[in-house]
């Protein structure tokens, strides 16, 4: 066997090992990230009394709604939030944050999530 060929074979084998090792390390890192994320969620839950992160994400909810529906729901819920939720005092939403919510119905979806929580309590 010529040396170039031997070289190529070892290069190939090293490659498989190296690539699999790095991908395995990446997989472990992601698991670590998820663990940290879960721990932060648990801490937030312990602190706030409910789990904000567990709610289906905006994106997922949006899939089932048209923009108009989202806007309508969002605006309605923003009123609900303004009246009831802030009394509940769970979150301190005010000033620019509150107006940002009402600005766009799409962001009102976020409000609807909180609503779900409140009612679920």
């Amino acid at each position: 066997m010529n040396p170039e060929f031997t070289n190529g074979v070892t290069l190939m084998l090293t490659g498989i090992v190296v690539v699999m090792a790095i991908l395995a390390l990446l997989a472990l890192s992601i698991e670590a990230v998820i663990m940290v994320d879960n721990w932060m969620k648990a801490r937030a839950r312990a602190k706030d009394g409910f789990n904000k992160e567990a709610i289906p994400s905006e994106t997922r909810m949006m899939e089932f709604l048209s923009d108009e529906e989202a806007a309508a729901i969002g605006l309605a819920l923003h009123e609900y939030i303004e009246m009831q939720y802030r009394q509940a005092g769970v979150l301190n939403i005010s000033g620019p944050e509150a107006s940002r919510w009402s600005a766009s119905g799409r962001q009102g979806i976020m409000a609807s999530r909180l609503n779900v929580i409140l009612r679920g309590k």
């Binding site: 070289n7 290069l11 490659g15 498989i16 190296v18 699999m20 395995a24 997989a27 990230v33 998820i34």
Partner: protein
């Protein structure tokens, strides 16, 4: 005066393309038309094959300068400049030279856009899918071995074998460095087989799996938080580049695009990366690939060899993914349907759809598309790392 007139006619007709056109040009004109047909009528990878076909037609019409590039400098052996700039360069020749051969910036730009349209959730929800994406890279290494057997040297073998990664921009990136003279053929081979993945993969999947395996259902993926989605690309970027610095051009732009997307605070950058910038770069990259297909350069036996090595690479990658999934099932609790291993070759998202269709055909209640997307995008990361590995070892 009449003499002048006739002289002029002769001058015009001797400057037509008819005097210079060759049989390989004619063949490649036909191939260009075939690509356009496949793109428009069959809708096989139209965003790649249509502009590639148009570029191929253009470059096989002789005597124009659209594909030309003359170096900024021409030096004599004393290091003295013999010639400076020249007007005699064409738009696509410039794009090819600066975008690929000299600076190789078009593939990373494509990856920025791909990052901005890729949803890594299915992979984050099940990180071990990364291993399936890695296992499918075995196709690359098998093709590498095959290339060496066929007499290609190390650089050429690496450049050819990356076809098995089933990622256009990765293939183009590494070929522009290691084997620029063969860039067109390898890129076109990769895109063609990606277009044909629904024909190449099913028999291999059926051969390597039992009906019972193909009918396996997988449980719902766990939900992925926004925080994880933002951290994922950053972590992948840091670790991959720390280990394989040469993977930076592809991995970093891919992951930066994905942070733009997932952060939710730079919507304008994310949209522009995913749309206008990606579209503009696609136009030029694909036309450039097209103009590398000049008949007299590509009509030779090597092209046939590359076409067969590419097919071997796709088949071996598919097999590698499936077999690794079966091995993984021996050691893990949450078994995976081995079909999704085949999606590890990338060819995003066609290979994942192939997996879905086969599983769905065996059991109409079985939907594994989202599960198959995990190894599918993992394969992109895997191939970019393989490319970085080759470049660390081989590039000058």
């Amino acid at each position: 005066m009449l003499e002048n007139f006739l002289d002029n006619f002769v001058k015009v007709f001797s400057s037509t393309g008819f005097s210079a056109i060759t049989a390989p040009n004619l063949l490649m004109l036909a191939v260009g038309c075939a690509f356009i047909y496949m793109a428009i009528v069959k809708e096989y990878e139209p965003y790649e094959l249509l502009p590639i076909g148009l570029g191929a037609i253009l470059i096989n019409l002789p005597l124009h300068q659209m594909g030309n590039f003359f170096p900024v400098l021409e030096l004599n052996e004393a290091g003295q400049v013999v010639k400076g700039f020249t007007q005699n360069a064409g738009l696509l020749g410039l794009a090819k030279e600066y975008g690929l051969f000299t600076y190789n910036i078009l593939p990373p730009l494509i990856f920025l856009g791909l990052g901005a349209i890729t949803d890594f959730s299915p992979l984050i929800a099940n990180p071990k899918m990364l291993l399936l994406g890695g296992a499918a890279q075995v196709g690359v290494f098998v093709a590498f071995f095959g290339s060496m057997l066929m007499g290609f040297d190390l650089n050429d073998s690496a450049a050819i074998s990356i076809i098995g990664g089933a990622d256009g921009p990765t293939t183009i990136y590494i070929n522009a460095i290691l084997a620029p003279e063969r860039l067109g053929i390898t890129a076109v081979t990769a895109y063609s087989y990606m277009g044909l993945v629904a024909i190449i993969q099913p028999p291999i999947i059926r051969l390597l799996t039992s009906k019972k395996e193909r009918m396996m259902k997988m449980e719902q993926l766990r939900p992925v938080s926004k925080r994880t989605k933002i951290l994922f690309p950053i972590v992948i970027m840091i670790i991959s580049i720390l280990f394989i610095p040469m993977s930076a051009p592809l991995i970093s732009m891919f992951m930066i695009g994905n942070v733009f997307r997932e952060s939710g605070v730079v919507d304008r950058l994310s949209r522009t990366s995913a749309n206008e910038l990606l579209n503009i770069v696609t136009i030029f990259l694909m036309l450039c690939i097209g103009i590398t297909l000049e008949g007299n350069a590509v009509c030779n036996w090597e092209t046939i060899k590359i076409l067969s090595l590419g097919l071997v690479a796709f088949a071996a990658g598919t097999a590698g993914g499936i077999l690794f999934a079966k091995v993984m099932n021996l050691f893990t609790k949450n078994k995976v349907n081995p079909i999704i291993g085949a999606a590890g070759v990338s060819a995003v998202p066609m290979a994942a759809r192939v997996a879905q269709e086969i599983a769905h055909h065996e059991d109409p209640e079985n939907h594994i598309l989202m599960h198959a997307m995990g190894p599918n995008v993992a394969g992109v990361i895997g191939s970019a790392i393989v490319a970085g590995y080759f470049l660390s070892i081989l590039a000058k």
